[in-house]
Amino acid sequence: MADQTVDAKGLNCPLPILRAKKALQSLGAGGTIEVLATDPGSVKDFQAFCRTTGNELVESSTEGNVFRFVLRKAG
Protein backbone atom coordinates (compact mmCIF):
# COMPACT_ATOMS: atom_id res chain seq x y z
CA MET A 1 0.00 0.00 0.00
CA ALA A 2 1.14 3.51 -0.78
CA ASP A 3 1.68 5.95 2.09
CA GLN A 4 -0.80 8.38 0.61
CA THR A 5 -3.46 8.44 -2.10
CA VAL A 6 -4.00 11.44 -4.35
CA ASP A 7 -7.42 11.49 -5.99
CA ALA A 8 -6.98 13.60 -9.14
CA LYS A 9 -9.96 12.12 -10.95
CA GLY A 10 -11.81 14.68 -13.06
CA LEU A 11 -8.89 17.11 -12.96
CA ASN A 12 -7.15 18.27 -16.09
CA CYS A 13 -3.52 19.08 -16.91
CA PRO A 14 -1.46 20.16 -15.01
CA LEU A 15 -3.41 19.54 -11.77
CA PRO A 16 -2.71 15.78 -11.40
CA ILE A 17 1.04 16.49 -11.53
CA LEU A 18 0.78 19.46 -9.17
CA ARG A 19 -1.29 17.47 -6.64
CA ALA A 20 1.17 14.58 -6.84
CA LYS A 21 4.11 16.90 -6.28
CA LYS A 22 2.42 18.40 -3.23
CA ALA A 23 1.86 14.94 -1.75
CA LEU A 24 5.46 13.87 -2.45
CA GLN A 25 6.71 16.95 -0.62
CA SER A 26 5.07 15.80 2.59
CA LEU A 27 6.90 12.45 2.44
CA GLY A 28 10.44 11.41 3.30
CA ALA A 29 12.77 9.70 0.83
CA GLY A 30 11.42 6.30 -0.20
CA GLY A 31 7.85 7.27 0.63
CA THR A 32 5.20 6.26 -1.90
CA ILE A 33 2.04 7.84 -3.25
CA GLU A 34 -0.77 6.43 -5.32
CA VAL A 35 -2.31 8.83 -7.85
CA LEU A 36 -5.71 8.21 -9.45
CA ALA A 37 -6.46 10.25 -12.57
CA THR A 38 -8.87 10.30 -15.50
CA ASP A 39 -6.81 12.66 -17.69
CA PRO A 40 -5.44 10.46 -20.52
CA GLY A 41 -2.48 12.84 -20.89
CA SER A 42 -1.37 11.94 -17.38
CA VAL A 43 0.09 8.60 -18.57
CA LYS A 44 2.86 10.31 -20.55
CA ASP A 45 3.06 13.18 -18.08
CA PHE A 46 3.85 10.98 -15.06
CA GLN A 47 6.56 9.19 -17.07
CA ALA A 48 8.09 12.56 -17.96
CA PHE A 49 7.68 13.92 -14.44
CA CYS A 50 9.54 10.94 -12.98
CA ARG A 51 12.27 11.01 -15.64
CA THR A 52 13.01 14.67 -14.87
CA THR A 53 12.67 14.59 -11.10
CA GLY A 54 14.32 11.24 -10.39
CA ASN A 55 11.29 9.94 -8.50
CA GLU A 56 10.51 6.35 -9.42
CA LEU A 57 7.36 5.40 -11.32
CA VAL A 58 6.75 2.07 -9.62
CA GLU A 59 3.48 1.34 -11.34
CA SER A 60 1.35 2.72 -14.15
CA SER A 61 -1.90 0.91 -14.84
CA THR A 62 -5.44 1.40 -16.09
CA GLU A 63 -8.65 0.24 -14.47
CA GLY A 64 -11.65 1.14 -16.63
CA ASN A 65 -11.26 4.85 -17.35
CA VAL A 66 -9.10 5.48 -14.30
CA PHE A 67 -5.33 5.66 -14.54
CA ARG A 68 -3.37 4.60 -11.49
CA PHE A 69 0.22 5.57 -10.79
CA VAL A 70 2.45 4.65 -7.89
CA LEU A 71 5.44 6.92 -7.31
CA ARG A 72 8.34 6.43 -4.92
CA LYS A 73 10.11 9.56 -3.76
CA ALA A 74 13.77 9.77 -4.71
CA GLY A 75 16.32 9.43 -1.91
Binding site: C13, P14, I17, T53
Partner: protein, 167 residues
Amino acid sequence: MAEAGSERRAKRMSIIVTKGTLDWAYPPFILATTAAAMGLDVTMFFTFYGLPLLLRKLDLQLSPLGNPAMKMPMAGMHMGMPNIASMIPGVDSAASAMMNQLMRKKGVATIEDLRGLAVESGVRMIACQMTMDLFDYTLKDMIEGPELGGAATYIDVATQSEINLFI
Protein backbone atom coordinates in the same frame (compact mmCIF):
# COMPACT_ATOMS: atom_id res chain seq x y z
CA MET B 1 35.39 22.74 -1.89
CA ALA B 2 35.70 21.16 -5.31
CA GLU B 3 32.66 19.04 -4.48
CA ALA B 4 30.49 22.07 -3.82
CA GLY B 5 31.43 23.62 -7.14
CA SER B 6 30.65 20.50 -9.11
CA GLU B 7 27.25 19.97 -7.49
CA ARG B 8 24.51 20.16 -10.09
CA ARG B 9 22.25 23.17 -9.73
CA ALA B 10 18.57 23.00 -10.58
CA LYS B 11 17.71 23.71 -14.21
CA ARG B 12 16.15 27.10 -14.86
CA MET B 13 13.30 28.35 -17.01
CA SER B 14 12.15 31.87 -17.77
CA ILE B 15 8.90 32.98 -19.37
CA ILE B 16 8.10 36.42 -20.78
CA VAL B 17 4.35 36.86 -20.26
CA THR B 18 2.92 39.36 -22.75
CA LYS B 19 -0.76 38.49 -23.05
CA GLY B 20 -3.52 38.88 -20.50
CA THR B 21 -6.64 37.39 -22.03
CA LEU B 22 -8.35 34.42 -20.38
CA ASP B 23 -7.08 31.96 -22.99
CA TRP B 24 -3.52 33.27 -23.24
CA ALA B 25 -3.10 33.44 -19.47
CA TYR B 26 -3.04 29.64 -19.31
CA PRO B 27 0.16 28.59 -21.09
CA PRO B 28 2.56 30.61 -18.92
CA PHE B 29 0.96 29.62 -15.61
CA ILE B 30 0.58 25.95 -16.58
CA LEU B 31 4.21 25.72 -17.68
CA ALA B 32 5.53 27.70 -14.71
CA THR B 33 3.73 25.59 -12.09
CA THR B 34 4.61 22.33 -13.83
CA ALA B 35 8.28 23.25 -14.23
CA ALA B 36 8.44 24.28 -10.57
CA ALA B 37 6.85 20.94 -9.61
CA MET B 38 9.56 19.21 -11.68
CA GLY B 39 12.29 20.92 -9.71
CA LEU B 40 13.17 23.82 -12.00
CA ASP B 41 13.81 27.36 -10.79
CA VAL B 42 11.25 29.43 -12.68
CA THR B 43 11.10 33.16 -13.37
CA MET B 44 8.13 34.89 -14.99
CA PHE B 45 8.56 38.37 -16.46
CA PHE B 46 5.21 40.18 -16.85
CA THR B 47 5.14 42.90 -19.47
CA PHE B 48 2.55 44.88 -21.44
CA TYR B 49 -0.81 43.05 -21.45
CA GLY B 50 0.64 40.25 -19.36
CA LEU B 51 1.21 42.63 -16.45
CA PRO B 52 -2.47 42.80 -15.34
CA LEU B 53 -2.27 39.05 -14.62
CA LEU B 54 -0.57 40.14 -11.39
CA LEU B 55 -3.48 42.34 -10.25
CA ARG B 56 -5.13 41.26 -7.00
CA LYS B 57 -8.55 40.91 -8.58
CA LEU B 58 -8.68 39.23 -11.97
CA ASP B 59 -11.57 39.49 -14.38
CA LEU B 60 -10.12 37.79 -17.42
CA GLN B 61 -11.93 37.99 -20.72
CA LEU B 62 -11.39 36.65 -24.18
CA SER B 63 -12.69 37.75 -27.56
CA PRO B 64 -13.80 35.67 -30.53
CA LEU B 65 -13.14 38.78 -32.67
CA GLY B 66 -10.35 38.14 -35.14
CA ASN B 67 -9.90 34.63 -33.78
CA PRO B 68 -11.19 32.18 -36.40
CA ALA B 69 -9.51 29.31 -34.54
CA MET B 70 -11.86 29.72 -31.59
CA LYS B 71 -14.52 27.09 -32.06
CA MET B 72 -16.55 26.14 -29.01
CA PRO B 73 -18.18 22.73 -28.61
CA MET B 74 -21.91 23.27 -28.89
CA ALA B 75 -24.77 20.89 -29.58
CA GLY B 76 -22.41 18.13 -30.70
CA MET B 77 -20.43 20.29 -33.10
CA HIS B 78 -17.84 23.06 -33.01
CA MET B 79 -19.07 26.56 -33.61
CA GLY B 80 -17.08 29.64 -34.48
CA MET B 81 -18.39 33.16 -34.63
CA PRO B 82 -18.16 35.50 -37.64
CA ASN B 83 -16.37 38.78 -36.92
CA ILE B 84 -19.45 40.82 -37.66
CA ALA B 85 -21.25 39.08 -34.78
CA SER B 86 -18.20 39.18 -32.48
CA MET B 87 -18.30 42.98 -32.68
CA ILE B 88 -21.66 43.23 -30.92
CA PRO B 89 -21.32 44.59 -27.36
CA GLY B 90 -21.63 41.83 -24.78
CA VAL B 91 -20.31 39.05 -27.00
CA ASP B 92 -16.87 39.10 -25.34
CA SER B 93 -18.30 38.71 -21.85
CA ALA B 94 -20.72 36.02 -23.02
CA ALA B 95 -17.90 34.10 -24.72
CA SER B 96 -15.75 34.50 -21.60
CA ALA B 97 -18.54 33.20 -19.37
CA MET B 98 -19.00 30.26 -21.71
CA MET B 99 -15.28 29.47 -21.64
CA ASN B 100 -15.18 29.68 -17.82
CA GLN B 101 -18.13 27.33 -17.58
CA LEU B 102 -16.52 24.88 -20.01
CA MET B 103 -13.26 24.94 -18.04
CA ARG B 104 -15.06 24.25 -14.75
CA LYS B 105 -16.89 21.35 -16.34
CA LYS B 106 -13.66 19.87 -17.72
CA GLY B 107 -11.69 20.16 -14.48
CA VAL B 108 -9.34 22.88 -15.73
CA ALA B 109 -7.82 24.97 -12.94
CA THR B 110 -8.67 28.66 -12.71
CA ILE B 111 -5.93 31.21 -13.40
CA GLU B 112 -6.29 32.41 -9.78
CA ASP B 113 -5.55 28.86 -8.58
CA LEU B 114 -2.58 28.36 -10.89
CA ARG B 115 -1.17 31.77 -9.95
CA GLY B 116 -1.52 30.93 -6.26
CA LEU B 117 0.25 27.61 -6.83
CA ALA B 118 3.01 29.39 -8.73
CA VAL B 119 3.59 31.80 -5.84
CA GLU B 120 3.41 28.94 -3.34
CA SER B 121 6.00 26.91 -5.22
CA GLY B 122 8.49 29.76 -5.25
CA VAL B 123 8.17 30.96 -8.85
CA ARG B 124 9.97 34.30 -9.08
CA MET B 125 7.77 36.98 -10.61
CA ILE B 126 9.10 40.20 -12.09
CA ALA B 127 6.74 43.05 -12.98
CA CYS B 128 8.03 45.17 -15.88
CA GLN B 129 8.76 48.61 -14.43
CA MET B 130 8.19 50.38 -17.74
CA THR B 131 4.74 48.81 -18.18
CA MET B 132 3.86 49.71 -14.57
CA ASP B 133 4.66 53.37 -15.36
CA LEU B 134 2.93 53.27 -18.74
CA PHE B 135 -0.37 51.95 -17.42
CA ASP B 136 -0.22 53.67 -14.01
CA TYR B 137 0.07 50.64 -11.78
CA THR B 138 1.97 50.32 -8.51
CA LEU B 139 3.01 47.23 -6.58
CA LYS B 140 0.09 47.98 -4.21
CA ASP B 141 -2.28 46.97 -7.02
CA MET B 142 -0.54 43.61 -7.33
CA ILE B 143 -0.57 40.34 -5.37
CA GLU B 144 2.16 39.79 -2.80
CA GLY B 145 5.39 38.51 -4.29
CA PRO B 146 6.29 40.25 -7.57
CA GLU B 147 9.41 42.39 -7.69
CA LEU B 148 10.10 45.24 -10.11
CA GLY B 149 12.60 44.92 -12.90
CA GLY B 150 13.42 45.86 -16.45
CA ALA B 151 14.86 44.35 -19.60
CA ALA B 152 18.34 43.99 -18.12
CA THR B 153 16.96 42.06 -15.15
CA TYR B 154 15.25 39.68 -17.55
CA ILE B 155 18.31 39.25 -19.77
CA ASP B 156 20.37 38.44 -16.70
CA VAL B 157 17.88 35.69 -15.82
CA ALA B 158 17.71 34.47 -19.42
CA THR B 159 21.47 34.08 -19.79
CA GLN B 160 21.41 31.71 -16.81
CA SER B 161 18.37 29.70 -17.92
CA GLU B 162 18.25 26.53 -20.01
CA ILE B 163 14.73 27.33 -21.23
CA ASN B 164 13.51 30.81 -22.22
CA LEU B 165 9.96 31.22 -23.50
CA PHE B 166 8.07 34.19 -24.92
CA ILE B 167 4.31 33.83 -24.61
